[in-house]
Amino acid sequence: MRSRELRVVLRKDLAELFASRAFWLLLLFTGLIAGQSFISAVELYAEASGIDGGAPALAQGLSPLDGILSPTLGAYDLAIMLLFPFVAIRLVAAEKSSQALKLVLQWPVSLRAQLASKLVALVIAWLLALVAFGVALVLWTSYGGHLDAGETLNLLMGYTLRFLLTMSLAMAAAAAMPGAANAAVVVLAFTIGTWALDFLATGRGGWIETLASYTPASALRTFERGLLRADVVAVLLLLTLALLVLTAIWLHPAKPPRHAIAQTLATLAMTLALCALASRLHASADLAEDRRNSFADADVRALERIDAPLAITLRLAAEDPRMNDFEREVLVKLRRAMRVTVRYPYAGRSGLFDNDPRYGTIEYHLAGRDAVSRSTTPDIVLETIYGLARVPMPPRGEPSYPGYPLAKHARGAAVVFYALWPLSVLLAARGAGRSRRTG
């Protein structure tokens, strides 16, 4: 296959994308909600930095990752869940319903290449939608705000992986289901299903928590913490690829349904096996500038020297705020430094009506020795582990993250996002419509 054919197919898919009113509406609303999120975030950040004369919050606690980047990109999460799937579904379903698909499938371009072209067109749509985020970053730096390249790119990668997964799901649904409305129901049902899984799995441990850690929302939380985990990236990419394979299986009308079902089951089984393997990848990188996913370097070195695995029994219910603290402040960091297994005896129970005196305790077992504590404070947990491992506590330096307070209002942002952005989108949509007529 030559590049000319591929270029024609991509040109066709882009023309179809730009001919879709849904796309221009998506662009309009994504910019508006991203702008609104950005303005709110900057104002809140300014308040926390003491703009109204109050005492500034601890400077160390002020991170643009939490204060500006995550809330602004949060608007894109809504767009990925609720707007983009319709654009992706349209790109596939419109050719099915107009039967243009029957012409396209005879072209000298493989189905794989045609699907790749649609995905490229959707990525271009994603990049265009991200222009609003880019504008927000420019405004933020123009106010004097700080940005760290590593955590910003990591966050963007997380959102892009989530986007690719949702788009491939939308394409697969459009290929397999009769009609765009049915495909939309499948995509929304999947999203709601993953929310339910997240909710059910919290604090349960075991396979269900492992499974839930790869739902789009959970995966995104990892990136929002500035953590780049090889297993999360691999699982998201494998799922995206599997959904594209399913799209190819169901899109071609010449495939007998029995074969399509058999190939679907084989694809799902293979994906499950590969995802199980990928979930064993432990490589990760803490790209948060404040190194929130890592203990101090001295502690990491000391923990890495402990050969024996650590077993923890966490007697806390999922709703207990101490559980969340322990997960975020201790377990995430421990897992990056040593082998840890965790048991959750209170999985699925509220703990409110239990008279178990051991509720709230955390048991540690290491190298044949045991310790019990109720603290979820990282320093005390580390002290307990060093005690069990008979390792002296390493000397620690002062935390090096300075924090980046910024007491500035979001000046000019309202004009940019509420006036210039809609105007630009409307003009671009009009220009695209005119160029379609004139060729």
């Binding site: 054919e5 107009s98 029957k102 000298p108 010449a254 379609r436 060729g439």
Partner: protein, 226 residues
């Protein structure tokens, strides 16, 4: 006999418990217009889509089919309704690395419609666009499903002239035709399908022999054989 461009043997298409095509056999000769005729539900469209690789064939062999050998234009499609007629023609021509022939556009009376969106075209206009899409492609065989459906008498005659000229230039056409009079007027040979089976294949004279109706017109032959 000239070697056929395409030979189908025992082509069977089963959908659920229904047999749509039952051991259909026929061949397509170079530079001919073969008309596939038959009552509604005879399996004409299924046969075309099986040959074009757009529907599964349950059993049987098709020699000479493939995307390099033939292009199939389905009936009742409205491709890319949000694009213009010109865009639709150009994108099809570009994918094959050929140019849109303006004479062809004029002959199909599409010149004045080039900036119109496909969604705004009438049934006859879409039909002419679809014929143009088929004629733009370079494959030696072109399968057209109901090419005259939705066209008025003048347009039907103009399209017939155009199709005949296409065959004279070396292309081979296979047409599914509902109107028997149209089929008799343009086709060199006919394939009569009934209930998913190929009842007869040949020139009109040969079909008359099969029906034992010398001198009968196509409608009488059709009624006798179906």
């Amino acid at each position: 006999m000239t070697d056929p461009l395409l030979s189908a043997r025992g082509v069977t298409a089963v959908r659920g418990r229904r047999t749509i095509l039952d051991r259909v056999a026929f061949h397509v000769l170079p530079h001919e217009i073969l008309g596939v005729i038959g009552p509604n539900g005879a399996g004409k469209t299924t046969l075309f889509e099986c040959i074009a690789g757009l529907q599964p064939v349950s059993f049987g062999l098709i020699d000479g089919a493939g995307p390099r050998q033939l292009f199939y234009v389905p009936d009742a499609i409205r491709p890319w309704p949000d694009q213009t007629v010109r865009w639709t023609l150009e994108v099809t021509a570009d994918v094959y690395g050929v140019n849109v022939d303006d004479a062809l556009v004029a002959q199909l009376d599409l010149a004045r419609l080039q900036t119109q969106f496909v969604r705004s075209l009438s049934k006859g206009e879409v039909k002419r666009l679809n014929i143009a899409l088929g004629l733009v492609t370079p494959q030696p065989m072109l399968f057209l499903d109901e090419p005259f459906d939705g066209l008025d008498l003048r347009q039907t005659r103009a399209v017939m002239e155009l199709l005949r000229a296409t065959v004279d230039r070396g292309r081979t056409l296979v047409l599914s035709i509902h109107q028997l009079a149209d089929a008799a007027r343009i086709c060199d040979r006919l394939l009569l399908l009934h209930d998913g089976r190929a009842v007869a294949e040949g020139t009109l004279a040969e079909l008359r022999d099969v029906a034992c109706l010398p001198g009968a017109d196509i409608e009488e032959v059709f009624l006798a054989l179906t």
